[in-house]
Symmetry: C2
Subunit: 187 residues, 2 copies
């Protein structure tokens, strides 16, 4: 976590100790549900190791919307808006997550004020990433979306079951298998 | 603009005068292109009145990705990343926009420091909005996306040509007309 923060801002030894002293890191086993539809989320997360998925239940079917892996922050809409969550978060792997809460973040920000500049930077970075992903989703056909995901996040194909990747790409698992076969036949 | 900022933070009369004194507001006629693919964007915008569209050119076809209307900020990826833009911005209506640039924003932030808290809040708000829109795009079928847009931004159907709305929804203009006919026949 210190290494990650240090990408954005430089920390003094004292500040590093304050952050370490917060004891924010928790272990969650594979399969653990962190947030359910209808829950009010009190926590936000930062993935140190592992993989967390967000998904909606639509007519009884899971539609995956994101896979969060190392060095990604997870800020549930429910946490920010203080409303019941519309989606789920579950661990696809054994995961080590750093936990944040409004109170904790406030205390940490007071102890290490320059963290707030980092948060603005992170928020902007995430905003750009999401805008570009969304743009791709709107402008690319499913096969191009698949190829782009293979290019940008190849490790997901080892870590995430293909049926989750299919709903994430907005296609059926059958279409995804066909697409993969067609592309590997070509290669 | 003052009214918009006042939703987030309370401004003293003096601070209001500083902001007004910046003379940030510009008029752009309908059809004006604010940003082209390949350009380096030096400006970000805030829509006071009018409608600005973002779109990509994909194989010679325009794919609309957003329609920015009153009280929405436009922060081009090119502006944030200092890279050539991959997309276009054009005015679909005569528009009054407040202009920002790195230098201007920095000066304004120094003159009215509490604006930075507002920017973090706005950035978070936009992040949530975008996440929810993107989630909808992934979890809803085109017809539901259309109905949702009708519900959340009905004015777009008066202000934006239907062929732009179709590409925004990820469908062809022909599918959109059919969908609209089917739904109005039902009603």
């Amino acid at each position: 976590m210190i290494a990650f923060i240090s990408q954005y801002i430089s920390l003094t030894e004292e500040e590093k100790e304050i952050i370490k002293g917060q004891n924010l890191i928790r272990f969650y086993p594979k399969g653990r549900i962190l947030l359910s539809e209808g829950d009010l989320s009190q926590d936000c997360y930062f993935v140190l190791k592992g993989c967390v998925r967000s998904y909606y239940l639509v007519d009884g079917e899971e539609r995956s919307t994101e896979f969060y892996t190392e060095n990604q922050g997870i800020t549930p809409v429910s946490y920010l808006r203080k409303e019941a969550s519309e989606y789920y978060l579950d661990c696809l792997e054994d995961s080590y997550l750093a936990l944040g809460s409004e109170e904790r973040n406030k205390n940490l920000m007071e102890a290490v004020p320059k963290l707030s500049a980092m948060l603005l930077q992170m928020s902007n970075d995430t905003l750009i990433e999401n805008q570009l992903l969304f743009d791709d989703f709107k402008k690319l056909k499913p096969e191009m979306r698949y190829l782009k995901l293979m290019e940008t996040r190849p490790e997901l194909f080892r870590r995430v079951p293909l049926n989750h990747i299919a709903t994430y790409l907005g296609i059926t698992p059958v279409s995804l298998s066909r697409m993969r076969k067609r592309i590997s036949d070509k290669a």
